[in-house]
């Protein structure tokens, strides 16, 4: 009997068990541990409820997210917009509102929101093309953020500095918008819709 054959003969059930336990343990560690290492959690300055506000405004999303005359998108509204209601008397009695009014509104300081969908600096995105011309719903790319009551945790990739929403919440990098918004997600939808194709469509 060679040493090799001796080794084969000795492999018992306990060996296999150990292998399986080790495999599962380290896979789990990789699966849940990697995101914790890779992503840093950053707090939003204060809570903001879309649901509460959608009941207050008259023109829906457009009351706060609209287009300027030159076709650019206003994005997140400035505090000037909030002043329309929050300047005189407190609207409710939440500590969130107090923080907002005292720390930002009264001091004239812009709110430093963490933007979940923020793309890298080299990317050009046009809301006019998608929301107006192609008639896509906000939900298609932003999920139900517009109906949300609370701001979810914002996570930032420690290496690239980009929001986790770009790579997506699956650590394997799978999923379609609104779960993920990488270059291939944009390109997949563009190909399906016959949008013109060149680097200088989405890049600047």
């Amino acid at each position: 009997m060679t040493t090799h054959e001796q080794g084969q003969a000795k492999r018992s059930g306990a060996d296999w068990l150990l292998f399986v336990v080790g495999f599962v343990l380290f896979s789990a560690l990789g699966f849940w541990g990697t995101p914790a290492l890779l992503y840093a959690e950053k707090p939003q300055p204060f809570q903001f409820s879309h649901k509460v506000h959608m009941e207050q405004v008259s023109e829906g999303c457009k009351s706060c997210h609209s287009f300027r005359e030159d076709g650019s998108f206003t994005g997140i509204p400035s505090t000037d917009k909030c002043k329309e209601c929050h300047s005189d008397s407190p609207q409710g009695n939440t500590p969130q509102e107090k923080t907002f009014v005292e720390e930002y509104l009264n001091k004239g300081k812009p709110v430093d929101w963490q933007v979940y969908s923020k793309q890298p600096a080299c990317v050009f995105f046009s809301h006019a093309a998608h929301a107006e011309n192609a008639g896509l719903e906000c939900k298609k790319c932003h999920g139900d953020h517009g109906d949300s009551e609370k701001l979810r945790t914002y996570q930032q990739n420690r290496l690239t500095g980009y929001s986790r929403d770009i790579w997506g919440w699956s650590i394997l990098g799978m999923g379609d918008p609104p779960k993920r918004m990488k270059m291939d997600n944009c390109a997949d939808c563009h190909r399906a819709n016959g949008v013109r194709d060149a680097c200088f469509v989405c890049h600047k």
């Binding site: 287009f67 076709g71 890298p120 600096a121 080299c122 046009s126 093309a129 107006e132 890049h203 600047k204």
Partner: protein, 264 residues
């Protein structure tokens, strides 16, 4: 060959006509370009091998002694070559990383610095020295990062950059057109150098649109392109009535006359 037929199929072919007889060499285009496109000032701008000027003004003279000396200036952006058979832009064909491509719809040669690996093949391939390598990170002195143009992504050390015909202005113009349901008009999309030129020497527009001024001007027999016989089939036309200036635009034999030599 008619102007539009020089280029392959595709909606637009954006291009320029630069009137050398109007250019005073003031450098306004260079400055406007740098501030529009976030091209910074390096530690040593006298080092012209390493400095970056997307729009560079070259000075030439007729080589004669005073008092017959004459001077002319060639402002040189990226010439956005198409190549003679539709698909042979010199820089695009050598890029191993696909960091630059030729947009078949607009005829603009892109440059995606984040994709660039810094090999500089394209710098060598470009017959016009229109491509620049970032030897340094641009030092933005405190406060100078604030007037940066948010529509143009700043670059880092180790990548190549070049003139994009202010492509971000086309994106902006398209945005407006998307909202209004209209089209991008001639004056909606103009490059920064065109707007800055005090003598109106630069005209910009769509060479495929017969209503655009640039398409009308470029037809003139006084217009020519740099190194035409290389077959780069580029989209920046120069205009002059001076024979000696025209001779400098390509390598002519003594007995050849500019304008009568066919482009390959």
């Amino acid at each position: 060959m008619s102007l539009a037929n020089r280029y392959s199929a595709g909606e637009h072919r954006f291009g320029m006509v630069i009137d050398i007889d109007k250019c005073t060499g003031c450098g306004g285009c260079t400055v406007a370009c740098m501030s529009e496109n976030n091209v910074g000032v390096l530690y040593d701008e006298t080092d012209k091998i390493r400095s970056i000027t997307w729009m560079r003004v070259y000075q030439v003279d007729n080589g004669k002694p005073f008092p017959e000396t004459q001077v002319a200036f060639f402002p040189r952006p990226c010439l956005h070559c198409e190549g003679s058979h539709g698909h042979h832009t010199p820089c695009v064909s050598v890029c191993p990383a696909t960091a630059t491509d030729y947009d078949p719809q607009t005829g603009i040669v892109s440059q995606i610095p984040t994709r660039c690996i810094g090999c500089r093949y394209c710098v060598g391939a470009c017959p016009y020295h229109a491509r620049y390598f970032n030897w340094f990170d641009t030092p933005w002195p405190a406060g100078l990062e604030r007037p940066l143009n948010p529509a143009v992504a700043p670059r880092m050390r180790g990548v190549v950059e070049k003139c994009t015909f202010c492509y971000h202005r086309y994106q902006r113009a398209k945005n407006k057109a998307f909202l209004g349901g209209g089209k991008v008009e001639e004056m909606d999309y103009q490059t920064a150098c065109t707007e800055a030129c005090p003598s109106g020497a630069i005209t910009f527009g769509d060479l495929k649109n017969p209503n655009h001024k640039v398409a009308q001007l470029a037809q003139s027999p006084e217009c020519f392109r740099l190194l035409e016989r290389l077959g780069t089939n580029n989209k920046v036309y120069y205009r002059t009535t001076r024979e000696w200036v025209r001779r400098l635009a390509d390598n002519y034999l003594k007995d050849e006359k500019p304008g009568q030599v066919a482009a390959s």
